[in-house]
């Protein structure tokens, strides 16, 4: 195999991997916005995906918002310039961060896989395996309503991206602080990996709702 064809082949698999990751973000963000009732349930419809019934928005303005957002995320993933994507849920009134869904994106370095720990050098993954892993995360997002505190006040959300210093930044993106929750509780969700990327998910939320002084 000449050097060039190898490059092209890697490029193709990178594009495919990016597509899987971005598609996952689309359904994950939609699921979170539905499950956490950021938008009313009548704004969503059910579709079959990953062997599950997943809810996606039918609201045009939200659709175009997410599309715009994810188009840029796709560019960054392809360029390998993004390390985290964060959805922060905040109170509309006082902008207090109540919940923070964090997706860590790691690039799997094929060249150096032998030098890494046991998780590093995975064998080729089939589409079915990837699908099952994603399905597990979406299930966890759905299940998360059971332990996450109820969002009593009207909430909105904000999207953060952690990128490299040299990434190209369009006008729709501004520098920001990390919107960290003070004194949070963390739950790590499952992860999934494609040939080129590994995506971890963590949800953090504000403590204090369960505090019962008598206990």
């Amino acid at each position: 195999m000449s050097f060039e064809t190898k490059n092209i082949r890697e490029n193709i698999s990178l594009k495919g991997s990016t597509k899987i990751v971005v598609e996952f973000f689309e359904f994950a963000l939609n699921s979170i916005l539905f499950q956490r009732a950021i938008y009313p349930p009548e704004d969503f419809k059910m579709v079959k995906k990953y062997g599950l019934n997943v809810l996606v928005t039918i609201d045009d303005s939200l659709k175009s918002y997410l599309k715009k957002l994810l188009t840029q995320v796709e560019v960054w993933i392809n360029a390998g310039k993004i390390s985290k994507l964060i959805l922060a849920i905040m109170n509309v009134e006082n902008r207090e961060i109540l919940e923070r869904w964090q997706f860590d994106i790691q690039i799997i370095d094929e060249e150096n896989k032998e030098n890494k720990g046991p998780g590093g050098g995975k064998k080729q993954r089939t589409d079915q395996e990837i699908k099952n892993e994603i399905q597990a995360i979406i299930r966890q997002i759905t299940a998360s309503v059971t332990f996450l505190p109820v969002l009593e006040d009207e909430c909105t959300f904000n999207i953060l991206a952690f990128t490299d210093k040299d990434a190209e930044v369009p006008a729709e993106w501004d520098d920001s602080d990390p919107l960290i929750i003070q004194n949070p509780e963390y739950v790590r969700l499952r992860s999934f990996s494609t040939k080129n990327h590994k995506v971890d998910a963590i949800v953090s939320y504000r403590l204090g709702f369960y505090d019962d002084p008598k206990r």
């Binding site: 009313p40 939200l62 390390s83 720990g117 966890q140 999207i159 952690f162 729709e172 520098d175 509780e185």
Partner: protein, 405 residues
């Protein structure tokens, strides 16, 4: 930490050992990363578009609204009857003219066919300007910023400056070949809009008065307003166009063609100096709000009637629009929500002109029913108390609170 969250901590199968971290460790790691300067190589970016509001389709919210106390609380009472009505016999029923203005010295000037009458709002006295050639009619008038001089545009293209105290004409600035439907002052400069679509700047201090010619409108100019800084001029014409001109430029900086009828009503927002409101004629019926720095249309309302003038309140976040066919009403809108604060059926036929008192409380409207009505729609109790305390003997007059000195 024996919380339900424990149940979702699922160890990762491939690695064989539990990879999740407890909250302390994770927090520590993030703090450490921050402290170690990971942020030096990374950028944290926020998507700065606002996510769409979740409120719009929520019917419960929609139907609950009248029950909400907050909406009732902020509604202020507006007097819907006129405080005073004066006769204005012979007022020309012409949308394209601008015949009413209220000076900073509390004088109301109105052009009635061939005559100019000046009504003193402090004393109630009326004077008229002695004009010598009554072959033409008054097409526009405007007070200078200090209230000493009145500029008058006539149907044959003359622009006259009158000294009101001495009741005599100081100078005539000829040049326009058609009627001057709108004039406005910017310090010593008079800007005039002509029926042929030209806008001229006249320097009142020099003999060669014409200092600039702004050519873009293709039809009669009927709206002309300088912003409060005097560096931008908004113009509207019968060609349905709104233009924004920089003070020194002779080509428009912005041209807006969204209206579908003549634009007479123009007003700059007093608290956001880059916002301009413009209202269109009977076929258009819309008020558009423009951000003149970006050129974007910020908001629009369909008023349902011909828009003849717009006045912003300086004390309330509101604006008032007067209307012609079909409703002949006067509407007060809150800004930026654009809710109707009040809708007053003001006149029996279309309202042609409006102007606001120097204390920003009373609005005068002149309509084709030949009435000049005064409305205390922006009553400001706090302000009145202050001026009464400072000027007690003035309370006998109806317009006692208006004195500005």
């Amino acid at each position: 930490m024996g919380e339900p969250s424990e149940q979702l901590r699922i160890p990762q199968r491939e690695s064989g050992k539990e990879q999740y971290l407890n909250s302390n460790e994770l927090e520590y790691q993030e703090k450490l990363a921050e402290a170690c300067g990971v942020s030096l190589e990374k950028r944290i970016l926020a998507f700065n578009l606002q996510p769409p509001s979740s409120q719009k389709d929520d019917l419960r919210q929609l139907y609950n609204q009248p029950m909400k106390l907050s909406t009732i609380q902020f509604k202020r009472r507006i007097l819907t009857s006129p405080e005073r009505v004066l006769d204005a016999p012979g007022l020309l029923d012409d949308y394209y003219l601008n015949l009413l203005d209220w000076s900073i010295k509390n004088m109301v000037a109105i052009g009635l066919d061939q005559c100019v009458y000046i009504w003193n709002a402090d004393t109630g006295g009326v004077t008229s300007l002695e004009r010598t050639n009554p072959s033409d009619y008054i097409a526009s008038l405007s007070w200078s910023y200090n209230g000493d001089y009145l500029a008058v545009g006539t149907s044959d293209g003359d622009i006259q400056i009158w000294d009101v105290l001495k009741e005599q004409k100081i100078r005539s600035m000829l040049g326009h070949t058609a009627r001057v439907g709108v004039i406005t002052w910017n310090k010593h400069i008079i800007s005039s809009g002509c029926k042929d679509g030209n806008i001229w700047h006249h320097d009142t201090r020099v003999a060669q008065h014409k200092v600039a010619e702004l050519i873009d409108h293709t039809s009669e100019v009927c709206g002309l307003k300088w912003n409060s800084n005097g560096d931008q001029l908004a113009s509207g014409g019968n060609d349905n166009r709104v233009n924004i001109w920089d003070a020194r430029a002779s080509t428009p900086r912005l041209t807006k063609n969204n209206h579908v009828a003549a634009v007479k009503a123009l007003a700059w927002c007093p608290w956001q100096s880059h916002i301009l409101a413009s209202g269109g004629g009977s076929y258009d019926r819309h008020i558009h709000f423009w951000n003149v720095s970006s050129g974007a249309r910020v908001k629009s309302i369909d008023t349902g009637s011909q828009v003849t003038s717009i006045i912003w309140s300086k004390d309330f976040k509101e604006l008032l629009s007067t209307h012609g066919f079909p409703n002949h009403n006067m509407t007060i809108w809150s800004y930026p929500t654009l809710n109707k604060t009040a809708d007053i059926p003001a006149h029996e036929s279309r309202i042609l002109h409006s102007t606001i008192s120097p204390d920003n409380q009373v609005v005068a409207t002149a309509a084709s029913d030949e009435n000049l009505k005064f409305w205390r729609v922006f009553q400001n109790a706090r302000k009145n108390e202050k001026s009464k305390n400072s000027d007690k003997e003035n309370t006998g007059s109806v317009f006692g609170g208006c004195t500005i000195r």
